[in-house]
């Protein structure tokens, strides 16, 4: 019999408790401060904010383009198992769906046909794939 969610949540706060108790906290504090001293304290901030903003903008633009292109390219009548979707998936952005998909595919290998990659899928297709992988 599989475990119930309630039981799992009741057990979860105890996970790793032995390691917490065993940790020599003073030794860790000493080692951290020694490393910090050797490294010269906090790292000097680099002016990368503008680069990050620029990179984020590019990612957004590419994502939007993929989304638009994918939506237009969806063949009519593509089977969609929408009724089986995980609650909440509809509210996620393409990037977030990608993130969930990455997470799932780490343990559930997905094989696409030779012509397609994940980048070719639109948001609806990603949702459907997620639902199918979820089983």
């Amino acid at each position: 019999m599989g475990m119930s969610e309630r039981e799992l949540e009741r057990l979860a706060p105890r996970l790793g408790e032995d390691a917490g108790e065993r940790l020599d906290i003073d030794r860790v504090a000493h080692r951290v401060t020694a490393r910090l001293r050797a490294a010269g304290g906090p790292a000097v901030s680099l002016p990368i904010g503008r680069w990050l903003a620029l990179a984020a903008g590019v990612v957004l633009m590419v994502g939007a383009a993929l989304f638009t292109f994918g939506s237009e390219g969806t063949p009519p009548g593509t089977p969609m198992a929408m009724a089986a979707l995980t609650p909440g998936l509809r509210d996620l952005s393409v990037a977030e769906l990608d993130q969930v998909l990455d997470s799932l595919s780490a343990a559930t290998p997905v094989r696409l046909d030779g012509r397609s990659t994940l980048d070719d899928l639109n948001a609806e297709q990603l949702r459907t794939l997620l639902a199918l992988m979820e089983g």
Binding site: L8, A12, R14, L15, G16, V28, E96, Q99
Partner: protein, 179 residues
């Protein structure tokens, strides 16, 4: 009457001003929960080194800490990244420490017999095998008791996505852990 403990924010400010003792105090304050988080994530015998690494990275890059957010949660997110980096470097599968869980649960309830060491070990083993994002969301929510907003801020995702990761983690764990 004992002296009131300084807030984390005050200690962080003192560290930024170069006070090493403030960093040490933050490690003492939050090190054990971070160790529990890492152990549950499958860090095995590397827990202490990874706790050290997480705090080192946090203090080195303290400018990345957003005032008002939980320092502990921020360090946990850094610890999760450190664990992922560590595994990638070593090319290792997660390690599940065989601790002293066989001790009877003193907080026993009607299901107390089942919530014993063996079950705890099996759940830990399965948590360690979850994909990193599911694992981190599950632990921050179920082990650390954070809400989805806090988890989303810590893991740089949205509350909706965190909810979905949690759903998948729980579903997988329920299926994987037989009892």
């Amino acid at each position: 009457m004992p002296e009131p403990q300084p807030e984390d924010a005050a200690l962080i400010t003192r560290w930024q001003a170069g006070e090493e003792a403030a960093a040490a105090e933050l490690v003492r304050r939050h090190g054990r929960p971070v160790a529990r988080f890492l152990a549950a994530a499958g860090a095995g015998e590397e827990v202490e080194d990874l706790v050290q690494e997480a705090f080192f990275r946090a203090f080195r890059h303290i400018d990345g800490y957003r005032r008002g957010a939980s320092f502990r949660t921020w360090v946990m997110a850094i610890a999760a990244n450190a664990l992922t980096d560590h595994r990638r470097r070593r090319g290792r599968r997660p390690v599940v420490a065989l601790g002293d869980h066989d001790v009877a649960d003193e907080r026993a309830d009607p299901h107390g017999e089942m919530v014993g060491g063996d079950l705890l070990r099996r759940v830990e083993a399965q948590v360690a095998l979850l994909p990193p994002m599911q694992r981190d969301v599950f632990l921050l929510r179920a082990q650390q008791g954070l809400d989805y907003d806090a988890i989303a801020r810590a893991l740089d995702t949205s509350p909706g996505a965190a909810r979905v990761h949690y759903h998948h983690a729980v579903k997988r764990l329920k299926r994987a852990v037989e009892w």
